[in-house]
Each structure stands twice: as structure tokens, then as C-alpha cells.
């Protein structure tokens, strides 16, 4: 068992266990901590796949910014008295779990039965070179998507400020 294989199984188990923890833990604060662990695990998986730049961005954006946002909002709420963590109804819950398991089985079965479509990855590129070609691709082939994303972020920033300042929305009782 070489180091690569060991690393994959370690990271996969850490990521999956903390992902299951997000769903199963009843306190939302612990859910947020499990989610942060999942983000770090996913970032490490990106690094093992050779996408070093994306791994860094994942750490900064998800494990940094998005998690701070979640924890801040949780801090604003007083969630010590959470009434119903899970949805009611045993039968509907069993049906939901069965659907989810069926989906997982279908996907895994599809992967197991198909022959490998892609060949082996070529020799590793240097990290700096990969980031450079990534930027070139982003500003040439995908420049329209990049610009559209900028417009979307502007709209969302304005919309969130408007949402936060509104007093009760359309059905406000003054």
C-alpha cells in the first residue's frame, strides 16, 4: 500500500464521516464545525488530484468565508431550544432514506459497470504552470462566463443589502 492509496482512503473517510456528521448531529453549531472539516477534506482531495490552485481557493472561499458567514448567522440566532431536528413521520422518513439509498446504489452501480473512459493521467505538471494556464483559459475561452459571473455577483450584493434592510417585505405591518 503506497502513500497515495493510503492518503486517498484517509481523506475519503474523513470527508465522508464529517459529511454524515453534518446531517446527523442535532446541534447546528456542531453541524457547522463538521461542514468546515468536510471543506478541508475536499480541499485536500483537490490537492491530491493535482489541482493545487483550486485547493487553495477552496480553503479561502469555503473554509474561510462561507463558514464564517454560517457561524455568524448561527451566532445571531438563539438555537438552544430547537424543537424538531428531523422531519416528522417514520414512513415518509423511511421512504426518503430509501430514495437516497437507491440513488447512491444506481450511481455506484453505473460506475462499477462502465469500463474506464479516461486513460491514465499524464505526468504531473508543475503547480505554477497549471495556475498560469488556468488563468489563460479563464480569460480567453471562458471570458463571457467570467463577465456574467461578475454581473451576477453585483446583483446579488445589491439584492442582499436590500433584503437585509427591508422591514418585513411585502406584508409588513406598520
Amino acid at each position: 500500500m503506497t502513500a497515495d492509496i493510503f492518503l486517498f482512503w484517509l481523506l475519503a473517510s474523513v470527508t465522508l464521516l464529517s459529511g454524515v456528521g453534518v446531517v446527523l448531529v442535532s446541534n447546528p453549531i456542531y453541524s457547522a464545525l463538521c461542514l468546515a472539516m468536510t471543506m478541508v477534506g475536499v480541499s485536500a482531495i483537490f490537492a491530491t488530484l493535482g489541482a493545487y490552485f483550486i485547493a487553495g481557493v477552496q480553503m479561502i472561499v469555503y473554509a474561510g468565508a462561507v463558514m464564517v458567514l454560517f457561524v455568524m448567522v448561527l451566532m445571531l440566532f438563539d438555537l438552544k431550544t430547537e424543537i424538531a431536528t428531523f422531519s416528522r413521520g417514520r414512513i415518509s422518513g423511511a421512504i426518503k432514506i430509501a430514495i437516497v439509498g437507491l440513488l447512491a446504489g444506481l450511481i455506484a452501480g453505473t460506475f462499477a459497470m462502465t469500463t474506464t473512459i479516461a486513460g491514465k493521467p499524464e505526468t504531473k505538471e508543475k503547480a505554477g504552470h497549471a495556475a498560469k494556464s488556468l488563468g489563460e483559459l479563464l480569460f480567453t475561452k471562458y471570458v463571457f462566463g467570467f463577465e456574467a459571473l461578475g454581473v451576477l455577483l453585483l446583483i446579488i450584493a445589491i439584492g442582499v443589502v436590500g433584503l437585509a434592510r427591508s422591514k418585513g417585505g411585502t406584508h409588513a405591518k406598520h
Binding site: L16, S31, V61, L69, I83, G93, F111, T116, S133, Y142
Partner: protein, 108 residues
């Protein structure tokens, strides 16, 4: 089904199945949990699972396009989290809870 040993060699399928399992975990969270914040967290989990399969395909096909798509998905996910949390804060201000039961109040 090919009978290669799954523990001896890490291939594309390993990453894809990991991604599928993570996605399904997030989906179970969306279906089962009642807290809006945890619902949003589960959605983030699903988006991350998709990112893993993008990166894995990109590596095994020697293309960088998957990584560009991961950029876009990350941006959309951050924007979605911001909007969702703003809505959750508004709901909490009105109903003093973030349980999904507040949808009962939306009946006209």
C-alpha cells in the same frame, strides 16, 4: 464487472463514487433536516461533491476546463449562501425560529 482489487489502485471510479456518496449525504440532509441553516449547509455539501467529480474528470482527461467550472460553481455557491442566509435572518426576525415549519405561515 471487472474484478480489479479496489484497494490496490486508485482510479477515476474511486473519486466518482466518493463524490456520489457525498452528494447523497447532502441530499439526505436536505430531505430530512428541518433547520434552514442546516438545509443550506447540506446544499453546500452537494455542490462540493459535484466539484470533486469535476476535478477528478479533469485530471483523468488531462483538461483544465473542469477546474474553470469549479471556479464558477464556487462563486455561485458563495452567492447562494449569502442570499439564503439573508432570507433566513429575515425569517428569524419575523417568526423567531428557523424551523422549516414557517412555510405554514406562507399560506395565503
Amino acid at each position: 464487472m471487472q474484478s480489479i482489487d479496489i484497494f490496490g489502485q486508485i482510479g477515476l471510479n474511486h473519486y466518482l463514487i466518493l463524490s456520489a456518496l457525498l452528494f447523497v449525504t447532502g441530499m439526505a440532509g436536505v430531505l430530512l433536516r428541518r433547520n434552514i441553516i442546516v438545509l443550506l449547509m447540506s446544499i453546500e455539501l452537494m455542490l462540493n461533491a459535484v466539484n470533486i467529480s469535476f476535478i477528478a474528470f479533469g485530471k483523468y482527461m488531462n483538461q483544465l476546463d473542469g477546474q474553470i467550472l469549479v471556479f464558477f460553481v464556487m462563486t455561485i455557491a458563495a452567492a447562494e449562501a449569502a442570499v439564503g442566509l439573508a432570507i433566513a435572518v429575515n425569517i428569524f426576525k419575523r417568526y423567531k425560529e428557523v424551523n422549516i415549519r414557517f412555510f405554514e405561515h406562507l399560506k395565503g
